[in-house]
């Protein structure tokens, strides 16, 4: 035996060896679990959280996987994720194409949550942001093809607000109108009823988690028309009324298009009325049709 290997030295060495072994072994396990958990950090596109769910990063800290929301959902739409499913094991979700959220007014799932992973400050289900509907495939949407399907528009619980039908000219026929479903993110709750009801073989409108569905303008972007409205008038130059060179006897109105000019009584000029003078006191030279 080595001279230095007194019992206390040996014990100390053993202690350090044991500690190192334990720390490495458990550290390795922790690394594995941590990496596995990272995979489940982003929600898969088909999995929608119940109403009131915190943002995914906060939700994964708050949800204790008790399943109370699942139990109190009167329509049994919620599931707890199984280990093989690509989201955090045991957390609740629903698949809109199977069973969408029925938007209960008393929101029992949120009330059932003991930790606040589903935010109790959500009192109005119409304010829920479970996800966002996206008309994901124009090529198969029946309304885009010129039919009056309108089912997504009709089933929407926030009808005529979350989805509107915007008329556009059907350039294929040249004489019909396309009623294009347009989703408005400020109104859409992500309930998924549109996706469930979409009659195409694979839904043309789908609900995705907000992080996936929603774009964001850069912070420095300004929308001219919004700024103009805020300021009560143009910020760079006063508006000039647009001048059209119309065929004789025709007039053009924004939104309506060309129409025959009403027959003017004799003596009255057929020229368009001059634009009303802006009330901002700009020099006359900068106003109206002089620009």
């Amino acid at each position: 035996m080595d001279n230095e290997n007194t019992p206390s030295t040996a014990a100390r060495r053993q202690f350090f060896a044991d500690t190192a072994r334990m720390a490495c072994g458990v550290g390795l396990l922790g690394l594995g679990v941590g990496l596995y958990a990272r995979h489940a950090r982003a929600l898969p596109p088909a999995a929608i959280r119940p109403p009131g769910a915190l943002a995914e990063a906060d939700f994964s800290a708050a949800c204790i996987r008790c399943g109370m929301c699942v139990r109190d959902c009167p329509f049994n739409i919620l599931h707890l994720a199984k280990p093989e499913e690509p989201l955090s094991t045991g957390t609740p979700y629903f698949v809109a194409r199977q069973l969408p959220c029925e938007m209960c007014e008393d929101i029992p799932c949120v009330k059932a949550c003991p930790t606040g992973a589903l935010d109790h400050s959500l009192k109005d289900i119409n304010k829920a942001k479970m996800g966002l509907a996206v008309l994901v495939d124009h090529e198969t949407c029946l309304n885009f093809l010129g039919l009056r399907c309108d089912i997504c528009y009709r089933v929407c619980p926030v009808i005529d607000k979350a989805i509107t039908l915007d008329p556009q000219t059907n350039t294929r026929t040249g004489k019909h109108t396309l009623f294009i479903p347009v989703v408005h993110s400020d109104q859409c709750t992500g309930c998924g009823k549109c996706e469930k009801a979409c009659p195409t073989e694979v839904a043309s409108i789908k609900v995705f988690p907000l992080t996936m569905a929603k774009g964001q303008l850069s912070a420095h972007y300004r929308l001219g028309w919004v700024e103009k409205e805020k300021a009560g008038g143009s910020l760079v130059a006063p508006d000039a009324a647009h001048q059209y060179n119309m065929p004789e006897g025709m007039k053009y109105e924004h939104g309506k298009g060309l129409s025959p000019m009403p027959v003017q009584p004799p003596g009255v000029s057929a020229a368009p009325a001059p634009a009303p003078a802006p009330a901002n006191g700009l020099p006359k030279a900068l106003q109206g049709n002089k620009l």
């Binding site: 958990a37 950090r41 906060d58 996987r65 399943g67 059932a112 930790t115």
Partner: protein, 301 residues
């Protein structure tokens, strides 16, 4: 080897002779009734629509009055950066007080469904005569416990719940297993072939957490008749944490006749198998010993 002597080798055989089969299995039967009863309480909801208890071991609501929350998962949630609502915190308080009274790791032997699984593995291990066992320190569970808490703080999410076999089993039973059965099978096979009392006795951080509550818990195994011990070793053979018995039984370092080790699961199996009635349930403040004649006296400190 004759059948008779083989039977005598079974721990508890002598107790069956002195106390009868029922007397020698009393706590085991009560414990299994508790484990299975609790599972049934949860299961009659999804099976028959009798919602006595909703939820699972992470959080449950009994008769819409009694919230019970797993303090361990709430601690992870807290470290991950979320402060739970009042409902969950009330449940934490109730559960913590309860286990401070009945013994921290009573959770493991009286409530946890995985114990049924690992006990079955141990039972089969003994029947199959599997002798070898991998050696890992029983302290490993505290390292894993620490790792789960650090992981929660670092990642900002309750990562241990992604793989925790304990909650996976309970959740699976009531909400659907999926592939969780494979995880549980792995735990069972590990206990059967790789390591004696492997999961519950060495690795499980849930048990490690409850043992921390058990450090101060009231209900304890007392050994008022430790002088009557005839060294038959039956208690050591059945105990899932045999290291907890020796200090109290052999009065090592002046240990009072109480099992004060935090990892005693209060399963009561030692009481069952002891033919000399050395063990009883009691409180940690009761240091009295009984003489064989039945007269109590207090051990000098």
């Amino acid at each position: 080897m004759s059948a008779n002597s083989k039977q005598l080798l079974q721990p508890g055989a002598e107790a069956v002779i002195t106390k009868g089969w029922l007397g020698a299995h009393r706590w085991l039967i009560l414990r299994r009734s508790s484990q299975i009863g609790i599972l049934l309480l949860f299961l009659v909801g999804p099976w028959f629509g009798w919602w006595i208890v909703k939820g699972n071991l992470s959080f449950s609501h009994t008769l819409n009055i009694l919230p019970l929350t797993d303090p361990y998962i709430i601690l992870q949630s807290l470290l991950a950066g979320h402060v739970s609502d009042k409902m969950a915190l009330t449940g934490v308080l109730i559960v913590t007080v309860f286990y401070l009274l009945v013994g921290g790791r009573s959770f493991c032997s009286w409530v946890c469904p995985v114990n049924l699984l690992t006990d079955a593995a141990y039972w089969l291990r003994v029947r199959l005569g599997i002798k070898g066992s991998a050696h890992i320190s029983r302290q490993t569970r505290y390292w894993i416990l620490g790792m789960t808490l650090v992981a929660a703080a670092v990642t900002g999410s309750i990562v241990w719940e992604m793989v925790n076999p304990v909650s996976m089993m309970h959740r699976g039973l009531f909400f659907g297993f999926g592939l969780a059965w494979a995880v549980l099978l792995a735990v069972w096979l590990f206990d059967l072939f790789v390591m004696r009392h492997g999961w519950c006795g060495h690795l499980c951080p849930v048990g490690a957490f409850y043992s921390l509550i058990g450090k101060w818990s009231l209900t304890r195994i007392r050994l008022p008749l430790r002088t009557a011990c005839n060294d038959c070793m039956d208690c050591f053979a059945v105990c899932p944490e045999p290291q907890v018995i020796r200090p109290a039984l052999k009065a090592i370092g002046g240990t009072p006749p109480l099992i004060l080790e935090a990892n005693c699961t209060n399963c009561g199996r030692c009481i069952d198998v002891c033919s000399k009635d050395v063990f009883v349930f009691g409180t940690r403040f009761n240091h009295s010993v009984a003489t064989v004649a039945g007269v109590s006296q207090v051990t000098p400190k």
